[in-house]
Symmetry: C2
Subunit: 404 residues, 2 copies
């Protein structure tokens, strides 16, 4: 009669709720007598006893709507557990687990959330608790190791590809020379920016230049690349990761003096697009525009990938199954079966080998000139963006599930 508690953590994605929906469905289908509880705002809310009973409140229709609702239905947090397992927060969490009669703890998130799963499962082992801790991967950055890819990436990649394709059409309507710079999320890993290569309608189409954080960025080389691009077309679209940095390790966005830190101590990056826009205008005296794709690249429900939604729900369901099977300290990981058609299977991996590591975009998929993505990336990424979600449309807009 143990209950399951599930939480969402870190930045929103288009499919983090699909994982929640998949987990609730799998729990119901498992025939367990216990309830599914949802943490409000992740572990932070759980510590404050803020949980809601999802098995009581979510109907079958709700679960379908939830699977198509972007962002985080339960709310999220950016709360990092202390390194020291002797800290008083750990017994506080485990007291709550006992009081709520919880046997299974699922946490949907990225790197920092896997760190939470790792610490809680180690604390459980240390104290002889039998609560099972399972991580469900979620990040648009696609930077978790030991999994073929992460839920959230496919939808964000589809958004970037579709949106940049529209931007290249928009950028080409006038005859005059112009440079459009599109700034895409990705601090240290360029997966999402690389997806902008899909925007090309034909070989040799815009975006002509794509820069990832995996290779050093140089303003002078950028100017030379632009000169070359202008020989192909007067309108040049450039896609850059927010985290591009020069050979000395200085972020391009730090060329201005607005760098700030977020609550995890990460540098908050904004504005490399604007800095490059100014550079282009000064150097080439041409029309320049920068476009920050901003939060919609991580939270667009309308442009989500149906494959991604399905896989996210699968990951949630597999998390429940793994927990019920007695696994703990694991993250649900995707293994891509060799050959066609595209197929993934679930292989849980030790979360301690995942958290606080980053999977970079492979160097062999970056052009030798460091300003383009090679076709070898396409068989990897294309299956992940397939399918359009069947939204429930009311009055011309998608219906989403929400808590008031």
């Amino acid at each position: 009669m143990k209950n399951l508690v599930i939480g969402q953590s870190g930045g929103p994605t288009a499919v983090i709720n699909a994982s929640l929906s998949g987990a609730v469905r799998a729990w119901k289908e498992s025939g367990q007598a216990g309830h599914v509880l949802g943490m409000r705002n992740g572990i932070e809310g759980f510590l404050a006893d803020q949980v809601i009973d999802l098995s009581e409140t979510l109907s079958e229709r709700d679960l379908t709507l939830l699977a198509h609702t972007p962002a985080a239905y339960l709310g999220s947090c950016r709360y990092k557990l202390p390194e020291d397992l002797q800290d008083a927060v750990y017994p506080a969490i485990f007291d709550n687990l006992r009081e709520m009669n919880i046997g299974f703890f699922l946490y949907i998130g990225g790197n920092d959330s896997m760190d939470t799963v790792d610490k809680l499962s180690r604390y459980a082992a240390m104290t002889g608790s039998d609560v099972r801790f399972i991580g469900i991967p979620k990040t648009i950055d696609n930077d978790l190791v030991l999994t073929d890819h992460t839920p959230g990436f496919g939808s964000a990649a589809k958004y970037v590809a579709a949106t940049v394709r529209e931007i290249t059409l928009d950028a080409s309507v006038y005859q005059q020379k112009a440079v459009t710079i599109v700034e895409i999320m990705g601090r240290h890993a360029g997966w999402l920016t690389a997806a902008s290569v899909l925007a090309r309608k034909f070989e040799g189409d815009n975006p002509y230049l794509i820069y990832l954080p995996e290779t050093p960025f140089s303003l002078e080389q950028f100017a030379a690349d632009l000169e070359h691009a202008f020989t192909k077309s007067p309108q040049v679209v450039v896609c850059v990761s927010e985290g591009i940095a020069d050979a000395g390790g200085t972020f391009v966005c730090e060329y201005s003096d607005a760098a700030k830190l977020d609550s995890f101590g990460h540098k908050m990056l904004t504005g490399c697009g604007e800095i490059l826009e100014s550079f282009v205008r000064d150097r080439f005296s041409v029309k320049a525009r920068s476009i920050e794709l901003n939060v919609n690249q991580r939270c667009s429900g309308m442009l989500a990938s149906e494959t991604d939604i399905r896989e996210a729900a699968f990951a949630g369901a597999e998390g429940v199954k793994a927990a019920l099977a007695g696994e703990t300290g694991k993250m649900i990981a995707f293994h891509r079966e060799p050959g066609e058609p595209y197929q993934i299977t679930c292989r849980p991996q030790n979360v301690t080998e995942i958290c606080n590591k980053e999977k970079k975009f492979p160097q062999e998929w970056i052009s030798p000139t460091s300003n383009d993505i090679l076709p070898a990336f396409l068989p990897y990424v294309l299956p992940l963006i397939q399918g359009e979600p069947a939204h429930t449309i009311e009055n011309g807009l998608p219906t989403y599930l929400y808590q008031k």
Copy 2:
């Protein structure tokens, strides 16, 4: 055996190509022996003899793809004809019309494009030319007079509504106080920003505050409005037109010193969102983010309104019919029939009474507090955003028609 020439002018929209597609189809269906020629880059390309034969090159499948392709297939321009009809450019244009055996001239565009139609039809009258000049309305701004609405607005409104709804979900995932400012296109008319009211999932939902250029903006009143909004929720989403200005007529974006002029002498507005973001951070010491919706609000094919696409094609077709019927100096205008269901009919209007005028958002649809949109706007706008376009999807992305 006269030919028809058609051009696109001004900023891109999601449906300017639907008007082109509708015009080409109507011409073919009319049984005219002449050809449809397309100006490359509007009147500017026409002056340089850059035309292509659309009746020869566009198949039925192409015309369907074209109707779903955003931006401007023919290319666009921002070329203003001289006020003085004695200028040498006029005989140059009419020489080209004669040489290409053109009897009908269709121009798809906004305010400035209607000015072109007006001048050319007046020059024709002055010189006894029998070429017919017809304007097809197009602007996301919805600011043309004498028409119920303009093609392009419905799609942009749907994009704004759907995107802001996603932004409000994204903004609500954390518990901390935060302000998200969404900057929406619209220099002098707030129609598009007003459409952000559709993002609300229920009464009293975000976006809590909406500011249009039609009412004076005050930083102090904004601070008071925010204080009040914080009593409802820690997360506040604010939607502002790029062109909001204070009681003295100074644009908020001019509070920084980066204002520039475009080739029409309009002020190029950027950054009122960033200015308000800084203001909020300084005044309230809360997390603040500004999001500029940027060009995708005018050129999103994926989030276009099927009603808008259909009406844009209708406007193109009606333009051909009007020209063939001998009309000239007219713009195709929409009349909304009274009652339900929503239905529009075409009533051409004198272009000279349209160009260089602006239709503002009605004061009676703005709340007395000047920070919200009243429900009376909904019956007007909702029919315009209905329907999702049936894109041709290949490899997970929409297929568009383009010229290399």
